[in-house]
Structures are given as C-alpha cells and as structure tokens.
C-alpha cells in the first residue's frame, strides 16, 4: 500500500497553474461542519499540487492530528507541518481528526479524481473504476482536465461517458442535450440507469426526446451483450451439468447402476480439493496459486478409489437389479455424508479460487466472461475429450464396451469381466471427483454438495438417452442454455421448475431420451 502511494505521488501529473497548498485550505478541510469541510476539500482538489495530495492521503489514512488550531501530519512517530513540510514537535494534547462517513467517501473520491491525472495507466484505470457512477458536478473541471490529457482511447471514452453523465445533471439545457448525444454511444449498463433516472426528472421537451433516443440506442447496443451473456452463462451451466453427468453416464448409462451416491463421489472430489488447498497453504504457500493443478489428479484418485471400494464391496452383488442398486447406493450416500460431517464438520468449508481464476475478460460493456467460468468450460471439454479417448480408443475402453454389450462373450474371449467392472466404476467415480473439484471453484463445498446435483445429473443422462455419450453432451448443453434463457424472464427457481416439467413432458414423448437406442436392444 505504502509503495503504491509513493508511486502515486511520484507520477502525479501537476497542472501548470496549480498553486501550493495554503494554511487556509488546510484549516478549511480540517475544521468546521462536514458540509463546509467537503466544500473546501473539493475546492482544494481542483487545483491540487503534490502537497495537497499528500495531505488528503494522510487525512484518509487517519494520520492527521490537531492541537488548538494547529494541524500536524504524523508520519513514523514524527509530526510535520502540512504546508511547509517542516518537522515539528507534536504537542501532548494533540487529537485525531474525526472523519464522518460522508467525509470519508468524499476523501476517497477526491483521491480517485486526483489519480485521474496520474501518469500510471493502471492508477488511472482504477480511479475511473472507483469514480464510476459518481456524478458530482463539482468534479467536472477535473474530469475535463483528465479527459484532455488522456491518451489511452478506452480510458478517454470512459472519461467522456463520466463527463456526459455529470453534464446530464447540469442546469444548462444545451449541456444536457450535448450529454444525451454523447451518452447514446455508450455500451455501459450503468448509462441506461442514469438515462432512465434523468428521464424521470427532465422537464424540457427537446431534451426529453434526445434522452429517449439515447436510451433506445443504448438499449439496442446492450441487447447484444445480454443475449451473448445469456448464451455464455448457459454454456457455463451446461458445462457444469456435463461434468456432473459424465461420470454418471458411465456408472448408470453404461453399467446400469443407479448410482445415488454419485453426488457424494463429487463431494469427495470437492473435499479432496479442499484438503490439497490446506496442504499447499501449510507447506507450499509460495506455490499456492497452482494448488488446483495438484488438486485435479488428487480429486480424481480419491473418488476413483472410493468408487473401486464400493464396487468391490457392494455394487458387484447387485448387477442386473437396477432398483436395488438405487437403494444400496442411497445408503452409501448417507454414510458418506455423515463421514464427511464427522471429519470436516457440518459447515461448509472454504475453497478459494487461485488468483489467476478471479477476474474476467471484458468483451462488451455489459458482458464480461469470468475466468473461473472459462476455465470450467475448458475443463469440461478436456474431461469429455479424455473420456471419449479412453472409452473409444484404449484397450480398457474396448473391454468396458465389450463387457457392457455382451458379458458372456467378452468373458469367453478371456476378459476378466469382474475387474473391468471395477475399473469402469472407478472411472465413472473418478470423473465425479473431477466434477467435484470443478464445483468447488464455483459453489459451496459442504456435506450436502452432492444432494444438490443428483437430480440434475440423472435428468441429463436420462434426457440424453441412457448409454449415449453424445446425448449426454447435447442434453447438458441444451438444459444449461434453456435454463438460462428461461431465467431471463421467470427467475431462477421458476426456470428450474419449468425445465423439470419440460423434461418430464419430453420423456413422455421420447421415453428413451434424445438418442434412443435402435433395434432389439432398445427394450432391454
């Protein structure tokens, strides 16, 4: 923090006619009613020099003391005069300056406005972000000054929008008209609210027309972002559904085990991620940002191991009796939930996103794609490709397909079917673990994690057509996008209900899912 301040003072652009901080200004900012203090502060900010900035910064950091009508800036246990900068003895009775909340936010805004003039592009960017929706007319000269000096086009545009937003509140009709014209080029959702607010209070007819035209233009340019945003979040939800359902597509789709513990296998993956995170925090804090890379294989192995144990101990006795596997795996899921509660407690645990996953890419004014969503989409694609390769191209995949299609013949050919069952189940479980690892980055990690996704997982697999990988992909993406579009006009819960009802109706029409198996095997 300190370093940044120093940098800021050093790079501050100082206007030519700025005059030095005077003792009167200091007293105006420090003493009196909050309103008059704010006024003095804004006035000083307009013609700020290095010392003014340092003083405002010190005030904002609570490093200013007063004694009588004398003002001291305290730094490293030494007191300095804010105007001359000379060191002074700090009297015993010096008191802290009290900044009410209003004063505090004004200080922040003034600092941000001053940073608009900084030579460092990053600081200017931050300052624009901080000021954002603040449309105080007193700040107009400063913004115009910054706008004139700005060289980066994107920032210049943003400054122009800020200027227009402030002008919109001006008492001069011509200025308001100008502002409406300027704002119509905006692609920022905040502009829309500003325009709508102003429309409510605007009295002049011409300005009103101009405002409405601007609003229509802004809305039109926002519509694209809204649509793309819905599609993106649909794909993002779809990729999560896909991850959740892929493992089930093996254990249920291929092997016929109604695995109600699928959600708990995901939960194990999520907790494995949590444990890896904890280990990194403790032993490798330097490499903490990369804990997720280590967590992925750990989550896979933890769930796969658990899956193998379950298959060997319970599920292999129940092949061919799908409804009994439902009961037994439900029992397993209850026990796993309690196990996690006993070990980690009933509360949700915190899993942090690595730094490289926070933030996002700004594509349009109202469309930014968060990195964690992008990473999960990529991850889902990778898992899908990996699984497709494993099932379609490897010896293990060949055996799995052979055993599920015709067990006796596969057995005759010398395939150890029992072992293949274990491998296949462990693979499905491991993929559930990968899903859990991904979910830990976007949702809560707690003992109930699995319960929240189990219905979704089954819906996707059934809708896609049991035993059909491609169907699972289409179903997941379709449901994700459908859900997000419905959310647009009904809200999240009603959209979810609508999707469930649509699935129920769809299954009436096509009981075997999108991709029904054809031929004699369809009924079996």
């Amino acid at each position: 923090m300190r370093l940044r301040h120093l940098l800021f003072y050093a790079t501050l652009f100082i206007a030519a006619h700025a005059h030095a901080l005077s003792a009167d200004e200091v007293k105006g900012i420090i003493f009196g009613e909050t309103d008059t203090r704010v006024e003095a502060l804004n006035k000083a900010a307009l013609t700020a020099d290095e010392k003014t900035v340092a003083f405002i910064q010190a005030l904002s950091d609570d490093a200013v003391k007063t004694s009588g009508d004398k003002v001291f800036v305290v730094k490293d246990d030494k007191a300095f005069d804010p105007v001359t900068g000379a060191e002074q003895p700090l009297p015993q009775d010096a008191e802290d300056v009290i900044n009410p909340n209003m004063m505090r936010s004004e200080l922040d805004n003034a600092l941000a406005a001053l940073k608009l003039l900084s030579k460092d592009e990053q600081l200017r960017r931050e300052a624009i972000k901080t000021l954002g929706s603040d449309s105080d007319e007193a700040r107009l000269p400063l913004i115009e000054k910054a706008w004139a000096a700005e060289t980066v086009p994107a920032l210049k545009d943003q400054l122009e929008m800020m200027r227009a937003a402030i002008l919109l509140g001006s008492s001069d009709r011509a200025k308001r008209l100008e502002a409406a014209g300027l704002l119509s080029a905006s692609k920022n959702p905040a502009t829309k609210t500003v325009l709508i607010e102003r429309l409510g209070t605007e009295l002049d007819a011409d300005v009103k027309v101009a405002l409405q035209a601007a609003l229509a233009k802004v809305e039109a340019s926002l519509a694209w972002g809204d649509k793309l945003g819905a599609i993106f979040s649909g794909i993002s939800l779809g990729s999560i559904l896909l991850l959740v359902a892929l493992g089930l597509a093996i254990t249920y789709g291929l092997m016929g085990v109604i695995n109600m513990a699928h959600g708990e296998l995901m939960m194990i993956g999520a907790y494995a991620t949590y444990v890896v995170q904890g280990l990194f925090q403790k032993y490798l804090p330097g490499a903490f940002d990369w804990y997720l890379l280590a967590a992925v294989p750990v989550a896979f192995l933890a769930s796969a191991l658990m899956g193998a144990v379950l298959e060997r101990s319970v599920i292999r006795f129940l092949y061919g009796r799908p409804l009994e596997t439902l009961l037994a795996t439900w029992g397993i899921s209850l026990m796993l939930q309690q196990l996690v509660r006993s070990i980690f407690g009933a509360q949700n645990v915190g899993v942090e996103n690595p730094v490289w996953m926070s933030g996002g890419v700004q594509v349009l004014g109202n469309l930014s794609l968060p990195y964690n969503r992008l990473v999960i989409i990529g991850f889902a694609i990778a898992v899908l490709l990996g699984m497709g390769w494993l099932i379609g191209r490897t010896r293990l995949g060949l055996f799995v397909r052979g055993v599920t299609q015709n067990r006796p013949i596969a057995s005759c050919m010398g395939v150890n079917t029992a072992r293949i069952d274990t491998y296949a189940f462990a693979l499905g479980s491991g993929i559930a673990g990968l899903a859990g690892c991904a979910l830990s980055q976007v949702g809560n990690v707690g003992p109930d994690l699995g319960q929240g996704y189990i219905v979704d997982a089954f819906m996707v697999v059934v809708l896609g057509g049991v035993g059909q990988l491609a169907g699972t992909v289409y179903a997941a993406m379709g449901l994700g996008i459908l859900n997000k579009f419905l959310e647009g006009w009904t809200g999240a819960v009603l959209a979810k209900i609508a999707v469930l009802v649509i699935i129920i109706i769809f299954i009436q029409k096509r009981p075997q899912g999108i991709f029904a198996m054809k031929g004699r095997s369809a009924e079996a």
Partner: protein
C-alpha cells in the same frame, strides 16, 4: 439399457424393475417362470384364517383401547403410563406405515418404484394444513383473519386455491381428490407412453423436486419454506388437548388397519393378480389381451390417495407441514421402509416403517452422529442380505425351524 446378465429371464426381470430377489443364483433358476409349481394362487381372504383374524383383532384393541387407557387414565409416573410423546410418535409412525403400505402396492405388487410419493403425502398434508390455518381464525400473531404468512406478505385476500379451506367437508374431499387428480394426470401420461422401470423412478423424482421448489416459493401461497404451523384447533376443538390427540391417534390407527384390509383384499382379487402379472412380465400380460394402462393407473392413483390421507392425518399430530416433505430424500425413505420390512407382503412395509422410524427416533436422540450410518448400513444390508426384508427373514427362520 444394458443387461449385465443377459439371460432372457433376467433381462425381463431387470426391465420390469422387479427386484424381488431371486432365492437361487440367476444361472440356476428354471428358464421359464411359468413352469409348474411356481404359480402361487392367492391365499384365503384376510379375515378368514384364524391367525389373521386374531392378529387383526389384537391390533384393533391395541389401537382403540389399550393406548388410550394407558395414556389418558393411567396416572403419570405409573410404570404403564404411555407418555404423550410416545403417543405422538406412534401416531406419526402409523402415518408413515400407511405410506409404506401404499408404496408396497405400487412397488412390491406392481413393480413400479415411485420416488415421488412424498408429493402425494405432502399434498394431503397441505390440504389439511390449509383447513387448520383457517381454523386459527384471528388468533394468529397479527390478529388477522388471514393466515399470518399472508399478512406478512401484505396480501389482502385469500388466493383462489384457498376457496374451500374453510369447510371441513370440502377439505376431506380435497384430501382424496388433490393427490388423486395429480397422480392421475401424471400417471396417465407416464403409463400411456410406457415409461417404466428406472425411467419412471427418475421422472417421479423430478416431479417431487419440481414440486418442492414450487412450494418453497412465497407467492405460491403455501407459506414458503416455513410451510404451515401454529395450528390451534380442528373442528373448533383445541388441537393440543390429550383427548384430541388420542382421537387423532385412534383415527390414524383405524385408517391404517382399514387400508391394510383393503390392500389385502385388493391384492388377493383378480385385479391384484393382474398387477402381479404386470410386475413379473408386462409384455406377456399384453399378449394375453390385457391393457396394463388401466391397471397401473388405478393402483397408482389408489396408492397416491393413501399417501395423501396419511399426510392429512400426519399434519394435525405433528403440527407442521413444510416443503421439506417433498424433498427427494423423503420419498426415497418411504421406499426404504417398504424394502426393510419386505416387499410384496402387506405386513412387511408396516413393520419396516416401525423399525426404521423407531430406530430413527431413538438414535437421533441417543447417538445423533450415528443415525445416518445406521440408516445407510440398513439400506445396504437389507439389499445385500435380506432381499425380502425382515418378513422374508422371519419366514426363512420359521421354515428352518420346521425342518
């Protein structure tokens, strides 16, 4: 769907979802289920055997005489006194037993596993709850004629679906009609398009999940996630008095016994035999000239109505109904009771409901950490080792003793 053991016999069983466990390993089973000696003709009517008759009478006496006497007239502190807590618990479990019985009709006897029976239970419960909410009158926290949650939401009048909630007679009709109609509509479409086995189970689960989400919403008019509670009276009689509790208890017991007799009659009738035929080989039933749709739909609606009645009896005794009753987990638990007791036997599910819920109320108090382990282990153990449930085990032991 794949059939890991693709003998004709097994694939048929798997397809039907009939998991009445084979008593012999799959490979050793005779090839055709119709071979002589395997056809079981229905036994005598429920009350015609001496043991059946006497067991029924004993159950009737326990419910109608022993429990009330022990609770109301034996003084507190006496060794034989039945506490109010115990009465409430028994009443609650009997409601669950009705659900288990209903589940057995549709699952054990017809081979259709429903994972959505919680919806029908809750619909019956909510219908009763609406009447009870109206019975509170202006005695609620806000002293308004409207239920408290509506005042809280700033509603001025009752929504349309509360129209009949004032009348007890209408409520009694709706308790049967609402779950019945919902089940009919859902079942008609599902059975018509020949959804069966696992698919049916999963869409019923989707149904209960959707219903739960819907009832969690405030604007649906069912009290949101708090549901209904704070009931004061029923038929203008205070609900918390010992005699009222006892009346509800006895009514529940009689309902359970009545449904038991009804189910016994049903499964022994020709209708019941067709159901079992559908369970064992639906395709063959169709080839024999029967249309399974009507049979499945009828038993599905009957089963749903039984659950609805159970819910209506449950709510005044427990004093609360909320959307949690519709969670998929609750519906699965109903199936568990039936499985633990033993499917395809009528007494089994009732026994199962008592065992599981008895253990639940004991374990959740004594070893709260332990309850889920126990329940989970019970599910696994029963499916692995007791495919015919406790009743099957008893039968086996008895047979062993005879030899």
């Amino acid at each position: 769907m794949s059939t890991p053991f693709p003998t004709i016999n097994d694939s048929l069983l798997a397809e039907q979802g009939t998991d009445l466990a084979p008593k012999v390993p799959a490979q050793a089973r005779p090839p055709a289920p119709s071979s002589p000696g395997r056809v079981e003709l229905p036994g005598k009517g429920p009350l015609l055997t001496r043991s059946g008759w006497s067991a029924f009478v004993i159950a009737l006496i326990v419910v109608c005489a022993v429990a009330p006497v022990l609770n109301l007239w034996v003084p507190e502190g006496h060794a034989l006194h039945l506490s109010t807590y115990a009465v409430a618990l028994l009443g609650k479990i009997m409601c669950y037993a009705i659900c288990a019985l209903a589940m057995d009709l549709i699952w054990g006897y017809t081979g259709i596993l429903s994972l959505g029976h919680g919806v029908f239970f809750a619909l019956g419960g909510y219908t009763m709850g609406m009447y009870l909410m109206r019975q509170i009158g202006a005695d609620g926290n806000y002293k308004s004629n409207l239920p408290d949650f509506m005042v809280f939401l700033d509603w001025k009048e009752l929504p349309w679906h509360w129209t009949f909630s004032d009348s007890f007679v209408a409520t009694l009709i709706l308790i049967v009609a609402v779950p019945g109609i919902v089940a009919f509509v859902f079942g008609y479409f599902a059975f018509r398009s020949r959804i069966k086995g696992v698919y049916f189970s999963i869409i019923t689960q989707a149904m209960t999940f959707a219903a739960m989400l819907l009832f969690f919403r405030n604007e649906t008019g069912f009290g949101g996630n708090n549901g209904f509670t704070d009931f004061k009276r029923i038929l203008d009689i205070p609900i918390a008095t010992p005699s009222m509790r006892m009346t509800l208890f006895v009514m529940t017991g009689l309902t359970l016994l009545g449904f038991f007799l009804f189910a016994k009659w049903l499964v022994g009738s020709k209708f019941g035999r067709v159901l079992q035929a559908i369970r064992d080989a639906e395709t063959r039933v169709m080839f024999s000239g029967y249309s399974p749709l009507g049979y499945k739909l009828t038993i599905w609606v009957i089963s749903a109505v039984m659950c609805g009645v159970a819910g209506a009896l449950y709510v005044p005794q427990v004093g609360i109904i909320n959307p949690g009753e519709m969670s998929p987990a609750n519906s699965i638990e109903i199936a568990i009771w039936a499985a633990v007791g033993g499917r395809a036997s009528l007494i089994g599910p009732i026994v199962g409901a008592f065992i599981v819920n008895g253990a639940k109320s004991w374990l959740t108090v004594a070893y709260p950490e332990f309850w889920l382990y126990f329940l989970g282990a019970l599910f696994i153990g029963v499916t692995l080792f007791l495919p015919n449930g406790v009743v099957g085990l008893v039968k086996k032991l008895r047979k062993g003793a005879e030899q």
